[in-house]
């Protein structure tokens, strides 16, 4: 189980990243520490998405559904049911998982194209639901409330909390993708029919993968709700789903760390460009067009493919 984590190269890289983030976070100005916190949450969201895209070849077009579900399940349990924070986190994640099983069961019917469209449709259903069901969800205004325990009220302590949560989540995802389950996922990405003829019930497998991916997206949603001390319909926005896809594609879907790099680049781009123009999303679209046409496998693939002839599927496991 631990072999995936203690692979020398990955372990050293992860250790350096955690040490640097631990040192840099507290000494940065408040604005940048908060931005880094948000980047870590977004990176977890993008990595959850990549479990399906990069490893299994699925195209979840409505991943914001689980981002929002995590945030709302948790937030409503605190605000409406008055549960303490941490039991609400656990219950919120469980509720998100149960809903993801239902959504997954309904989405994974035929081919992966239909899957993507149905996933997107559910995203739209949930946006409408949270925007219009005012009594329960607060409608388009959402709810603002204290969603962090007292010991996480300072931005630095919350930053460390998010860092720990993201590192633990990454460790679990890394173990998962390095496991036999992860290898079968790669097989499905390459040839679903062949896998079916090798005794794998691919629909059931896709459902399990979908729920696992949804769980980590929901966890990112919980962290987002805590970060913002509130739950808002914007968490479910289609642009969130699209930005997640952008992060995965820009960073490199064939690399574990690709979506994290993509999240960092998209966050830097969106915050820096939004200082100059209100049309930053349009510029992000332009960057995406250039990126997809020039670096279609993501920035990491380009660099690796020049450095060595090893293939993404192998690189992915290192």
């Amino acid at each position: 189980m631990w072999k995936a984590l203690v692979k020398k190269r990955f372990f050293i890289f992860a250790l350096i990243a955690v040490v640097v983030l631990s040192i840099v976070g507290p000494i940065l100005p408040r604005y940048y520490t908060q931005l880094l916190t948000l980047t870590l949450i977004t990176a977890l969201f993008a990595t959850s998405l990549n479990i399906e895209i990069g490893y299994a070849g699925m195209m979840p077009l409505g991943q914001a559904t689980f981002y929002g579900l995590g945030a709302y399940s948790f937030g409503l349990l605190v605000i409406k049911a008055h549960l303490p924070i941490f039991p609400a986190v656990i219950c919120g994640l469980l509720i998100s998982m149960i809903i993801s099983v239902i959504i997954g069961y309904l989405c994974i019917r035929r081919n992966l194209f239909i899957f993507g469209l149905l996933h997107l449709a559910f995203n739209i259903v949930f946006i409408t639901l949270v925007s219009k069901w005012v009594n329960l969800t607060g409608g388009s205004s959402g709810f603002t409330a204290t969603l962090r325990p007292a010991f996480l009220s300072s931005y630095v302590s919350f930053y460390f909390f998010v860092l720990v949560m993201v590192v633990v989540a990454y460790a679990i995802i890394k173990i998962l993708v390095e496991s036999p389950f992860g290898k079968i996922a790669q097989g499905m990405r390459e040839n679903e029919e062949r896998l079916n003829f090798l005794g794998v019930n691919t629909k059931r497998f896709q459902l399990v993968l979908f729920v696992a991916s949804g769980f980590f997206a929901a966890l990112a949603g919980v962290l987002l709700a805590m970060n913002n001390n509130g739950i808002y319909p914007a968490y479910f926005a289609l642009t969130v789903s699209v930005q997640g896809l952008m992060m995965v594609i820009i960073g490199g879907m064939y690399f574990f760390i690709g979506p994290t790099l993509g999240a960092l680049l998209v966050t830097i781009f969106s915050t820096e460009v939004s200082n100059f123009t209100s049309y930053w999303q349009g510029w992000l679209g332009v960057v995406m067009v250039i990126w997809v046409t020039r670096f279609k496998e993501g920035i990491l693939f380009r660099r690796q493919s020049k450095a060595s002839k090893k293939i993404p599927a192998i690189e992915m496991n290192k």
């Binding site: 496991s179 036999p180 079968i184 790669q186 390459e190 005794g199 497998f205």
Partner: protein, 245 residues
């Protein structure tokens, strides 16, 4: 009999592609299915492999009715299929291609918190690669193999599931005659070593007559003749099908 079909029919609209085929295959037999283009051979194999649903009729494997089982279930029962066009995990290495099958065979598909090496020993995968002569190419990407080697790998992946009945759809299509012969020698040896029953579709008559124990001939969806290679060679109706009047 390890395998039999009873009145197997497949209609595509008003076209009957497989017409009441009754086929019986004994354990350990190598059976070739031949026939002109459009005879229904591939459709028949696809019905057995559950790639297609039969319109009517039954399919039995080891006396068990498998007519309505999905592909992943019949694969688990011991029926393996090699496709006409290789279906590999192209971006994975040769080793990983076989490893995927090995994981499935061991029922470790949902094993999330253990290393690949813990549940599927490299030696097991390498044993399969050695049996198909690809052990030296274990680290190569499947997409970079020659077509002949891809056909071998296709057989290797299927063998890793330890089937008792192996179906090969035109195994030598697209490879040179010598490569085709090597491939069929390999198949014949494996069949002997692993006590496999084999059904294969083939257009190359030298291959068919050299390697098949029995031959079944299909024409316009029907099974029109079955017999030893020497019987089929002199069958006038088979001559007529292939050469016309």
């Amino acid at each position: 009999m390890i395998f039999k079909t009873v009145d197997l029919v497949k209609d595509f609209g008003c076209l009957r592609a497989v017409d009441k085929v009754n086929l019986e295959i004994a354990e350990g037999e190598i059976r070739a299915i031949i026939g002109p283009n459009g005879a229904g051979k591939t459709t028949f194999i696809d019905l057995i492999a559950k790639r297609l649903r039969p319109t009517s009729g039954r399919i039995y494997f080891k006396d068990k009715d498998i007519t309505n089982l999905p592909p992943y279930r019949i694969s688990s029962l011991g029926i393996g299929k090699c496709f006409q066009i290789s279906k590999l995990f192209l971006e994975l290495s040769v080793f990983e291609n076989v490893q995927v099958a090995c994981i499935s065979k061991r029922g470790k598909v949902y094993k999330m918190f253990s290393s690949n090496s813990d549940v599927c020993l490299a030696s097991d995968t390498m044993k399969v690669l050695e049996s198909i002569g690809l052990s030296k190419m274990a680290e190569e990407r499947a997409a970079s193999l020659s077509y002949g080697d891809q056909r071998r790998l296709e057989i290797g992946i299927t063998l890793a599931m330890q089937p008792t009945l192996l179906m090969l759809d035109e195994p030598t299509a697209g490879v040179s005659r010598s490569e085709g012969n090597d491939l069929m020698k390999l198949v014949k040896n494996l069949a002997k070593d692993l006590s496999l029953t084999i059904i294969f579709i083939e257009h190359d008559m030298d291959i068919v007559f050299n390697y098949a124990d029995n031959i079944s001939v299909m024409h316009q969806g029907q099974l029109v003749a079955t017999g030893k290679p020497e019987e089929i060679k002199i069958n006038k109706f088979v001559h007529k099908i292939y050469l016309g009047d």
